[in-house]
């Protein structure tokens, strides 16, 4: 028995379940532990974004008028479209987990692929939004180019830094979120490949469940990001 290497499975001691790690007494304990770990990780993710949300709030308090005007430069329909796309992907993810629990390998793979497709659509839309921002120089303060509707200016007619700050946060927060989507696509693809190999069943679907949790969090963060940036009042 060699447990001091990466080969950690110990099929002899536990009735042959290949996924059972030796330091857990039962599969149930192992599943619960994984879930706790994942939830804790999600908490750190929330706090990671939380820092940016707080920063956004403080800067919005500093530049209320600029933020209000700057958000008009965003393309609200595209943001709304992405929200719908992610909501659909959350639904397909739930269906995927459900299929795993029901031992339905074909449906599991199908739902996972659908989820990946939604994620790709999201990123495409994001790409068009970003390139529009770059064209219009809707960028952080150093590169921000004054737009006709921007009213907050100093005596010399220079536009306030608040507009650029809005876009600094826009790019950081949606960028970090986009990065999470990208990571999610890789995770989903990995799960889909494993599912296609038939590794999951109603007895063991922990990875599907955990990636599902991750995916729901990424969706949830967007649900907060969308009104934050696109629907300022």
């Amino acid at each position: 028995m060699s447990t001091s290497t990466l080969d950690f499975h110990d099929p002899h001691a536990h009735g042959g379940d290949a996924h059972h790690q030796h330091h857990f007494a039962t599969m149930e304990q192992q599943f619960d532990t994984s879930k706790i770990g994942m939830w804790l990780f999600l908490v750190t993710e929330v706090l990671l974004f939380g820092g940016l949300f707080v920063g956004f709030g403080m800067m919005q308090a500093r530049y209320p008028q600029e933020f209000l005007e700057a958000h008009e430069h965003l393309q609200r329909p595209l943001g709304a479209l992405n929200t719908v796309v992610l909501l659909i992907s959350s639904f397909t993810m739930v269906m995927g987990v459900l299929s795993a629990q029901r031992n339905d390998k074909k449906k599991l793979v199908m739902y996972l692929i659908l989820t990946i497709l939604c994620a790709c659509v999201f990123l495409c839309v994001k790409y068009f939004e970003y390139s529009h921002k770059f064209e219009e120089h809707l960028l952080p303060p150093r590169w921000y180019q004054a737009q006709p509707g921007d009213t907050v200016r100093d005596a010399a007619g220079n536009v306030s830094h608040g507009y650029g700050t809005f876009f600094a946060f826009y790019f950081m927060m949606t960028g970090l979120h986009g990065f999470h989507i990208l990571v999610g696509i890789f995770l989903l693809a990995w799960i889909a490949i494993r599912a296609n190999r038939g590794e999951f069943s109603s007895k063991y679907y922990t990875p599907v469940d955990l990636v599902g949790l991750y995916w729901h969090l990424v969706d949830l963060i967007w649900i907060y990001l969308f009104p934050l940036f696109y629907l300022i009042k």
């Binding site: 001091s4 290497t5 990466l6 007494a25 304990q29 706790i36 993710e45 952080p140």
Partner: protein
């Protein structure tokens, strides 16, 4: 197994097994790919001690340079102002991020926590190894940052200095970002382990207090470190793309950085001190051979310190430009921290009362801790009080205060814990006399070095100063002499511990008469920790002679 100490401890009734976790598999590869928490703990130990050595050498240079106001040594200027700024920054960054934060949780905690719980491993062994490698990557990046440039920002990275100064700040900040994720993953691992892998029969209030301390620490690691991560990301983006969040020239706010930074770094102080307190809570009952007085109070105080640590960050910023209302609120909240700290102190003393106290090296460290942390904690009251803080903040008073807490507290506890579990980790006993000598020298040297700094600070000597007024010279010189005594004590301690490794295994299973589960297995432990799943029969720290039913 003839050892003078074993007469007090219980020797296992089985012979020492041939195969243990150290010799179960051989070769460097078997270590690098290990998922055994004990080996990972040992690797962390080697890593953090190397960092401690580096940080310590930088500290000795800082003190040496301050020996006289002209920085003259043998007729030459030892270092310029730029070099001085870099050296104290490296001392701070290395000690805080590479040494103290991972020292007790990642090195000792990794080794001891699963043993104490009667578990075979931590919840996620592979994640544990990943944390270790993240630490290595972070450390390598930090060292690269030192070699291929330098940073002179201080360990706090305050903007806008850190966004405008030259040097490898971006690399260093990214190193700290990665170290942060190492810390987060360790925290997640420990929380899950404590929740799910306790031995049968072990309820929450049957856990050793070390586990409570590490558990509270892990909660802070999980909740606070992401905010540091995002803050450092923003700082790096600011340097590379001038996004302008912290840059007043681009409409940003430098004080916002301080809020973000301290939202992590104040809890980080508890990431550092809680495990230290946790070790002391093991040492005192064991060496007093008496049950922990007020076990629940100590356990609750760990958790409440962890929670309080999140709402007091503003006390670093009384004069930094936060609103006056915030300053008052933060001052009031800060005083609350004194309560659980005091409760712990009283309970430790209450445990010693009517004990049967033997003064082996770990207990000497525990008593050092009580005295030094006592001073560190009490001087914190001066800094929490509004009117005195205005005068004392940003002076040597603060430097002395946090060294009393961080070094007099955490480092002393860490070394005490290292001596306590050394027989378990290595299977060898060290020389008791040299161990005690090292402890006493460190204690004396420490007070020489840092007690003087309270006076320097009260007199108005600001921190991070290269040049200083001649009037401070005698105190500075005395402080420097003290640092040499610490260095000597540390050297004796290190040589003493390392020398023990040359001997064959001679440690009994339970050299100190400990009651927690890690003493129930062999020294060093076997690969899977226990021959069979231990079941908790007695609560920890039960020193009554007859076994009682649990």
């Amino acid at each position: 197994m003839a050892n003078t100490l074993t007469s007090r401890g219980k020797i296992a009734d089985h012979p020492r097994p041939e195969v243990n976790y150290l010799n179960a598999s051989k070769g460097i590869w078997s270590w690098m790919t290990t998922v055994d928490h004990k080996r990972i703990g040992v690797m962390y130990l080697v890593g953090v001690l190397t960092a401690f050595l580096m940080g310590g050498i930088f500290a000795l240079f800082v003190r040496l340079s301050l020996l006289n106001p002209k920085h003259m040594l043998f007729g030459k200027v030892l270092m310029s102002a730029e070099t001085y700024n870099r050296v104290f920054t490296l001392h701070g960054v290395i000690m805080v991020f590479l040494f103290i934060i991972p020292s007790i949780p990642a090195a000792l905690g990794n080794f001891v926590l699963p043993l104490m719980l009667g578990a075979k491993d931590v919840a996620f062994p592979r994640l544990n190894l990943a944390s270790f490698y993240l630490w290595v990557i972070g450390a390598v990046m930090a060292v690269c940052g030192m070699i291929f440039g330098a940073i002179d920002t201080g360990w706090t990275f305050y903007t806008p200095y850190s966004t405008t100064t030259s040097g490898t700040v971006t690399l260093m900040v990214m190193a700290v970002f990665i170290l942060g994720f190492s810390s987060i993953f360790t925290g997640i691992n420990f929380v899950a382990t404590v929740h799910k892998l306790r031995a049968p029969g072990m309820g929450w209030f049957d856990m050793p207090l070390f586990v409570w301390g590490i558990y509270s620490t892990a909660i802070i690691q999980v909740l606070a470190t992401p905010v540091l991560g995002i803050t450092l990301c923003l700082l790096a983006l600011e340097r590379v793309f001038s996004i302008g969040i912290f840059d007043p020239k681009l409409g940003g706010d430098p004080v916002l950085f301080q809020h973000f930074f301290w939202f992590y770094s104040h809890p980080a102080v508890y990431i550092m001190i809680l495990p230290g307190m946790a070790i002391i809570s093991e040492l005192i009952p064991t060496f007093s051979r008496k049950t922990m007085f007020g076990y629940r109070a100590v356990a609750y105080s760990s958790v409440s310190l962890a929670l309080l640590s999140f709402i007091v960050w503003g006390h670093h910023m009384f004069v930094a430009g936060q609103s006056q209302l915030a300053t008052v609120i933060f001052s009031a909240l800060t005083f609350l921290v004194a309560i659980p700290s005091g409760v712990k102190m009283f309970n430790w003393l209450g445990t010693m009362y009517k004990g049967n106290i033997s003064l082996e090296t770990p207990m000497l460290y525990a008593i050092s801790f009580l005295l030094l942390f006592g001073i560190g904690g009490l001087t914190g009251i001066f800094l929490g009080t509004l009117s005195t803080d205005v005068h004392l903040t940003d002076t040597y008073f603060v430097v002395a205060h946090f060294h009393y807490v961080m070094m007099g507290g955490t480092v002393i506890a860490f070394i005490g814990g290292l001596h306590y579990w050394w027989p378990k980790m290595t299977g060898r006993m060290y020389n008791e006399k040299f161990g005690a000598l090292g402890c006493v020298l460190v204690f004396i040297g420490f007070n020489m070095t840092f007690l003087t700094q309270f006076f320097l600070g009260s007199k108005g000597m600001p921190r991070r100063y290269y040049n200083y007024l001649d009037q401070y010279q005698p105190l500075h010189a005395f402080s420097t002499y003290g640092s040499w005594v610490i260095g000597l004590g540390m050297m004796i301690t290190a040589v003493n511990l390392l020398a023990s490794l040359r001997k064959p295994y001679d440690a009994p299973d339970n050299p100190w008469g400990g009651t927690t589960l890690e003493w129930k297995t062999s020294s060093p432990p076997i690969e899977h920790n226990f021959e069979e799943q231990p079941v908790l029969e007695r609560a920890p720290y039960d020193y009554r002679p007859e076994p009682v039913a649990h």
